[in-house]
């Protein structure tokens, strides 16, 4: 018996060989072949773990429905193919065994997605990372401290709102003893708007055209805050405080949306 034979017949052999001679040949090969021995060991472990999965561990039906919907949305499956083919939503308990592995796979995919989302721009070493070059879509201005702090921002002065301290201290401040890069990255003064932001502003334009400039202005401010904090977090991925500030910045944006939803009807 060769390795290829073993790999091909392994699943069936685990459930019991058709005769003693076949079983003996299989055992003999596995004893002398470490690769096949490892394969057999792994498969036995997986099988035993699979048997341990109780039926109560079966994810609810909506999980399968959601996965199917997602696959359809991504064009990986089509409606007409799903009807005659394998059904993702278990139609009877007897079919559940065949899809149990989807749960950990889905979980792993979700975890991987979360990891990518939360670490997509993180850099591995916080120290010694020079502040990134300004990625500005408009010229950055350093406003006088007092005016930046007290003036109500107008559309024309959006870029000077906030972060006067950054301008005051300069971007090249040295790293602190904690190893964090203590300087804020240069402020991106005209943060790009997302699709949701555009929809939001479009809604404001429709329902309250006179308020559009105000909301657009404030939206730019909160987006700039988010972007500034995100850049800091990217430089200092282990900084819990920075992450909290990032959450605070997002809460500010949420507050803006809430105010708009409450006020504009």
């Amino acid at each position: 018996m060769t390795c290829s034979d073993v790999q091909q017949l392994l699943p069936e052999l685990l459930d019991g060989a058709p005769d003693a001679a076949f079983q003996a040949a299989f055992d003999s090969h596995v004893e002398t072949c470490p690769d096949c021995a490892g394969l057999v060991s792994d498969l036995k472990l997986i099988t035993s773990q699979a048997h341990d999965l109780a039926e109560t561990d079966e994810p609810p039906t909506r999980v399968w429905v959601n996965i199917a919907a997602q696959l359809r949305a991504e064009g990986l499956i089509r409606e007409e193919e799903t009807a005659p083919g394998p059904v993702l939503v278990p139609s009877s308990p007897r079919r559940r065994w065949s899809a149990w592995w989807l749960a950990p796979v889905a979980a792993a995919l979700l975890a991987a997605g979360s990891y990518v989302v939360s670490h997509k721009s993180a850099q591995p070493i916080a120290q010694n990372v020079p502040p990134p070059q300004p990625v500005q879509s408009a010229p950055m201005q350093s406003a006088p401290v007092e005016s930046a702090k007290t003036d109500i921002p107008t559309p024309s002065s959006t870029s000077v709102v906030a972060s006067s301290r950054v301008a005051e201290q300069g971007p090249q401040e040295v790293a602190t003893k904690s190893g964090h890069s203590a300087s804020a990255p240069p402020r991106v003064v005209s943060a790009p708007s997302s699709k949701e932001d555009q929809q939001f502003l479009s809604m404001v334009s429709t329902l309250a055209p006179s308020s559009r400039a105000t909301y657009e202005n404030q939206l730019q401010v909160v987006n700039a805050d988010i972007q500034e904090t995100q850049a800091y977090v990217d430089q200092n991925p282990g900084d819990a405080d920075a992450r909290q500030h990032l959450m605070d910045a997002y809460q500010q944006k949420a507050l803006l949306y809430q105010i708009a939803m409450d006020r504009i009807q």
């Binding site: 109500i152 301290r165 804020a184 805050d225 507050l255 105010i259 409450d262």
Partner: protein, 292 residues
């Protein structure tokens, strides 16, 4: 000659017509812009729930009778109406803009006298909003509205604005949560088990004793935070600015912190018996703790 007289008469008539038209138009415009004062009275029981919502205009609330709510509305023009509704102990007042109403013509200013224990909810884009000498829960929200709350105790005080400044004076034993995107916040003699202030670019100023063994958390993105405390203050202080300066002008007893303390950017220490916990956080704003 007769022709000249006729032309003169015609000219006079035209002038008269124009004058009359102008007078009528002026009268109509005045009537349209004339202020109207309306008063509404509602009988309520304990813990009434009162809500006032106006797009343009201020709302001022004071304590009155314990069984009656009196609403005085001053409408700037007939381009706006007041809708009012009572369902049991719940009263809803709202300005209703009519076609063509502007910020000026759609303005309604409200003055309310309510039971001190009533729950209050005020909304206005332009404001100002004010409430004083009340003891119930209150929520005040505005876009550019300046918010003033004074002499309030025992209630939940929730305020949020987009750009409007928020001023709290003598708010005792309250659960206080205030938030603004770019409005400044000023708190004087504000104490309670929970006092939270969160601003983006606005400045937070606090003048008080951080009393009642409370949990005080002030956060800004780029706004400064300044706290002025008496000499007998009793609190743990933790302050941290990611890139701004942090300083305290009086000695604090240093404490062990599980967070790294960076000189000039953070401090952690206690004063007195450390009854309250005070957390001051900013991303790029300056934080300063001072003593009277």
């Amino acid at each position: 000659m007769a022709g000249q007289q006729g032309a003169g008469l015609l000219e006079t008539r035209i002038h008269s017509t124009i004058v009359v038209t102008l007078v009528v138009a002026t009268c109509l415009a005045s009537a349209a812009l004339a202020e109207t004062k309306k008063e509404y009275r509602f009988t309520v029981g304990p813990n009434a729930n009162i809500s006032v919502d106006t797009q343009y205009g201020g709302i001022s609330v004071h304590p009155g009778s314990s069984t009656e709510v009196v609403v005085t509305a001053i409408l700037k023009s007939d381009s706006v109406e007041v809708d009012q509704q009572q369902n049991g102990n719940r009263i809803e007042i709202a300005s209703h803009l009519l076609q063509g109403a502007t910020e000026k013509t759609g303005q309604v200013n409200y003055e309310l006298l309510i039971p001190a224990d009533a729950t209050l909810s005020l909304h206005s884009s332009t404001g100002p909003l004010s409430a004083d000498h009340l003891q119930g829960d209150m929520t005040l929200e505005g876009t550019d509205a300046a918010v003033n709350i004074s002499n309030v105790e025992n209630g939940h005080v929730h305020v949020r604005t987009m750009r409007g400044p928020i001023t709290l004076t003598n708010v005792r034993n309250g659960h206080v949560e205030i938030a603004s995107i770019s409005g400044n916040m000023q708190m004087k003699a504000v104490t309670g088990p929970v006092v939270q202030a969160n601003s983006g670019s606005g400045k937070i100023s606090y003048d008080g004793d951080f009393g009642l063994s409370g949990d005080y958390k002030f956060t800004t993105h780029s706004g400064d935070i300044e706290a002025l405390v008496p000499q007998d203050v009793s609190a743990d202080f933790r302050a941290h600015s990611m890139v701004g300066r942090v300083q305290h002008d009086f000695p604090l007893q240093s404490k062990h912190s599980r967070f790294p303390v960076e000189l000039g950017r953070s401090f952690f220490g206690s004063a007195g018996k450390a009854a309250s916990e005070v957390v001051l956080r900013s991303f790029s704003g300056r934080i300063r703790l001072k003593q009277h």
